[in-house]
Amino acid sequence: MSEQQVVAQAAVVDGAGGLEPGAVPAGGKEFVGRSPGQLAWLRLRRDRVGLASGGALLFFVLLAVAAPLVERLYGKGPLERFPERLDRNGFPLGYAGVDAEHWLGIQPNLGRDVFIQLVYGLRTSLLVAFTAALLTIGLGILVGVVAGYLGGRVDAVLTWFVDLTMAFPFFIFCFAFIPVAVNQFYGVRDAEATWFRPMLLIAIFVLFNWTYTARLVRGQVLSLREREFVDAARAAGAGLGHILFRQLLPNLWAPILVTFSLNVPALITAEAALSFLGIGILEPTPDLGRLISDSVDFIREVPTFTIVGGTTLFLLVLSFNLFGDALRDALDPKSTR
């Protein structure tokens, strides 16, 4: 977004519209200068869907962060069992086991409380997705900026890597890779450390995901590097690192932020899918995907269990996606959807 555009948009936001930069409106009101960040915030605040999804998002994140506190207040742990609440066949008593004590019911067979499992499952999901998205963006920015700015042979090699990674069948490769990696580190009999699977998933997600950011950043840098401010910096004797990360990068934060916010829900879905298939997060770490996978075994008898777990995942992804869209609209008012 260039300087002129920013000023022009400031005028529009003020409701004065179409003013020359620096001009004083006829009403005598002082022209207020606003930074691109302030403008985006103004636009976001007017977007009702954006606000609602942002609120939902905040709720999920707070719930996940404060999971131990929620556990203390709620009085039940994620692994605690309540066998007295199950009937002889392992099905929860009453309507899916819902009552004042267990807000969302009891898990069949294992007899765990569903609500606290969801809270801790959110924690796992968000932890994996956020970490992976941050690393993805970091790697993507690094590769994209370097490839775009240096061009030539470096660019050709990096672009080939990007194309290669994109042609990899992600899910199928996960099947091939995860069991082999686990086997490599732990053998067939040893028990895995609980941190190992999340780390492995994060590593795989980063490995396959960085290409999109890299592509985006590369394209932007290609057009930015010919601009005057880059020439000026170079003429002033700035080093390569300064030009790349102090001059070019600040111009890219808007698309990067949008990519990040749309990357997180995609990663949440992928993590849930892998755990659903039994090669993601394992017992005893609570996880949304595995909870749904467990629930499908009892779908005939306790359908609400599946619906509760699935709906949580759906709402989480939905609020991220809606917020990402709102963010895009706020940061780039020219975009249409």
């Binding site: 069948p169 099947f175 091939a176 995860i178 082999v180 086997n183 899918a273 599946t306 995942l313 759906f314």
Partner: protein
């Protein structure tokens, strides 16, 4: 034009080569030698028996040589092992399963049609629903229909199949009993039973995908409608149906073809979640089972096949581009 395709093909071949080398490398990254895995635990497995199995599976030669003969086997067939342990493996030879010695090509032949039927039907659903909803809402912009369609595409794009698939099962199978739990029947055996088994997975995969297609085709159509050639066509008196259905549609549909081609390529490699939810053994499910059992020949074959589908879809999409949109000049 020619140069463009040669470059694309070279890229495709180099990608496939890299995928095959990587998966072959994984195969040997398994610390338990596959022969040991097959041989059983310490008591049963004598050194002689281990050596015999290694010879039988052709694992006693250097790794690059094994890679070479593996690739040769795909195109020309090969003999695995030597002497009395030799087995003939016909083209396209993908080896034998470690678990039950079944030829991998037969496993693929059994599971690929399941995935193929699933994806083909789902693609019809998502293209029909997605593109028509997107087009209509673009033409009736701002109406109730448009708003509902936009809402549908927003919500649908976030709906995980982990919820939608089980929901369909709950509603149509367990609560109302309108359909029975799906069981795959080959189309050659009984087309009607095939379709009725496939209808829920088609709906699940197709409906979810149609959301993003509706969104994309709406945006494309809106953009196309503002173009000069649409106004010209209207101004010279062509009926609306011709202008929107022929002129505008053709221009708007190009990116949809791209995405559809790439999606098809990806899904043909396996729709493992849909297959798992509805209890089919397609390519994805077979691959997952094989991976959990460390049955590496099957894993390798499915990864390679999935990569072939993706790469082929890329090439086909590039070619289709030029056919659909005459403005595209490849070069």
């Amino acid at each position: 034009m020619l140069r463009f395709f040669v470059r694309k093909l070279l890229l495709a071949v180099s990608t496939l080569f890299a995928v095959s080398v990587l998966t072959f490398g994984l195969f040997f990254a398994v610390p338990n030698n596959p022969a040991e895995l097959m041989c059983g635990n310490g008591k049963v497995c004598s050194p002689e028996r281990l050596e015999m199995i290694e010879r039988r599976m052709g694992l006693d030669v250097p790794v690059p040589q094994q890679y070479g003969s593996f690739m040769k086997g795909i195109f020309a067939g090969r003999t695995i092992g030597e002497g009395d342990a030799a087995r003939e493996c016909l083209r396209p030879c993908l080896g034998f399963s470690f678990r039950n010695d079944e030829p991998v090509s037969r496993i693929v032949g059994r599971t690929l049609p399941v995935t193929l039927s699933l994806v083909a039907g789902a693609a019809v659903v998502w293209l029909l629903i997605g593109v028509s909803v997107g087009m209509i809402s673009a033409l009736r912009r701002g109406t109730v229909f448009d708003r509902l369609a936009v809402g549908f595409s927003l919500v649908g794009a976030s709906m995980p199949i982990l919820l939608f698939g089980p929901l369909l099962l709950i509603v149509f199978v367990y609560e109302t009993g309108w359909l029975s739990y799906p069981r795959y029947v080959p189309i050659t055996e009984n087309p009607l039973a095939w379709a009725s088994a496939m209808i829920l997975p088609w709906l699940a995969l197709g409906f979810l995908n149609s959301a993003s297609y509706a969104r994309l085709s709406r945006a494309q159509m809106l953009e196309t409608l503002t173009e000069d050639f649409v106004r010209t066509a209207r101004a010279k008196g062509l009926p609306k149906a011709t202008v929107y259905g022929r002129h505008a549609l053709r221009a708007a549909i190009t990116p949809i073809v791209t995405i559809a081609g790439l999606d098809l390529g990806t899904y043909l490699g396996g729709t493992v979640i849909t297959e798992t939810i509805f209890g089919f053994t397609g390519l994805g499910k077979a691959s997952l089972n094989a991976a959990i059992n460390l049955d590496m020949p099957v894993v390798m074959a499915t990864v390679l096949l999935a990569a072939v589908f993706i790469v082929a879809a890329n090439v086909v999409v590039d070619a289709l581009y030029a056919v659909i949109d005459p403005r595209v000049r490849l070069g």
